[in-house]
Amino acid sequence: MIWVDTILQGILLGGLYALFAAGLSLVFGIMRLVNLAHGDLIVLGAYLILLLVTMTGLSPFLAAAIAIPLMFMLGYGLQKFMLNRVLGDDILPPLLVTFGLSVVLQNALLEGFSADSQRLPAGTLSTASVEVAGINLGVLPLLTFASAVLVIVGLNQLFYRTSLGRAFRATSDDATTASLMGIKPASIFAKATSIAMIIVTIAALYLGMRSNFDPNIGPARLIYAFEAVIIGGLGSLWGTLAGGIIIGVAQTVGAAINPEWQILAGHVAFLIVLLIRPRGLFPRAVD
């Protein structure tokens, strides 16, 4: 029974990792941009929510609802005024720029909020749990997982049911040809990054309520996000959820064997998947 419990906890933790990864996957899928500042943007989102909570006394959920449009606009500006200028045939300039952004964000947060670790006040939610068939599941992890599934379902609907989604996929396939069909790739990219920042803010909400954060934890979140995306197969949204779950389960199982193995087990699972399926579990049919 203890193993069932461990695996369930791992699956729910995977929801958080899938939230970390979904935004990264979206941006990479559409514009082949690896955003090295993704983790730091999540941390920025967490501090923004914290700031709103502290200033207004709102619950973190309401604060996140206010933070979402702010982060959305930040994403639009970031893409329009910075990232679109460096996107091109060469993959190095965007990597360097996002790496630089990561350093700047970390230092700005350090300057503004000090290195003290912070936490979003989740109140009774942080300890609430429900019992399902003799297993206690935390309400917060369940909410996290449900949000991850909702985000993935929402993105799939957006991609396959809307005109914007079709433009996303067409631009992802071939931006030059898309521009001949009347699509403006630069504006599509800005919309994609804005949407990614909505997901970033949701991820920040759950990260901040679940664990402590400080200005330096961004890069580690980026690694988890990366691993989830790669395990799932580039461009597959459900694959990203599966990737998050695999890392989550590996971590909780590793921790159950020996608490020191938690992080390591996640990375080992990633390497094993790469050995067996170098293109991930659900690679896109045509690349």
Binding site: R169, S179, K184, A285
Partner: protein
């Protein structure tokens, strides 16, 4: 009324001048064929007209409007449609979605307003049976048809066809030519680059010969084909 006018357009890649002082007009509703040996700069000329490349010198006017510096998406919305020599469908989209993307963005319309028209184009280009397959799964002929269909979905006033008959069998070529004739009959201005000359001459009103980036002849297809210069340079026959 002139649909497209090029005045002294030039384009160089480094020291290589691929388009050299090219000027010509295409009146509305006319079909112009472009021939020339490989490397003559035919596809580059198309890239300059669509806006994939920008001209170093000269001017390009679409229905009297200067589009020399306009980006590709604006020229598409203004009425320039194009098929590629090597088909470039959006491989992860279905055939139908390929058209819907082109129609919604190329014409700036809502999806519900273009659905019927997309279905009609698929019918005409004989792709209706493939509508829900991904474009990546199509055969060469079907991909070429999709190139044409997608260009049509943007509702072009000026349609650029780049070697659309190349690599097809005689029968396939014939049915494609019939489709192009029907499109032309509706008043769409066409510029067509083609090596399959009998297909080309059965549609076009005028022929333009390009060599080393320069226009070396433009006029009646029969006269052009029988001119000494064309035989020498294009067909490689020494007279």
């Amino acid at each position: 009324m002139t649909m497209l006018a090029l005045q002294n357009v030039s384009k160089s890649f480094g020291a290589l001048k691929v388009t050299d002082d090219v000027s010509f007009d295409v009146p509305e509703g006319q079909a112009l064929g472009i021939i020339g040996p490989n490397g003559a700069g035919k596809s580059t000329l198309f890239n300059l007209i669509t806006g994939n490349l920008s001209a170093d010198e000269g001017g390009i006017h679409l229905q009297g409007r200067d589009v020399t510096r306009a980006p590709a998406m604006q020229r598409c919305i203004a009425g320039v449609g194009r098929s590629f020599q090597i088909p470039q469908p959006f491989t992860n989209l279905t055939v139908y979605e390929n058209l819907v993307v082109a129609a919604t963005f190329g014409r700036q319309r809502a999806e519900k307003d273009v659905m019927r028209q997309c279905a009609v184009i698929l019918e005409r280009t004989e792709l209706i049976g493939r509508a829900n397959q991904t474009a990546g799964s199509l055969s060469l002929l079907e991909r070429k048809r999709l190139e044409l269909a997608r260009a049509m979905a943007t509702h072009p006033k000026l349609l650029l066809l780049d070697e659309i008959a190349g690599g097809l069998t005689e029968g396939e070529c014939h049915s494609l030519v019939e489709t192009i004739k029907a499109i032309h009959a509706e008043g769409v201005t066409i510029i067509w680059i083609e090596h399959v000359l009998h297909a080309l001459t059965s549609v076009v009103d005028r022929l333009l010969v390009l060599d080393f980036g320069r226009v070396i002849g433009i006029g009646d297809p029969d006269e052009i084909m029988n001119s000494r210069e064309v035989k020498e340079i294009y067909l490689g026959i020494d007279i």
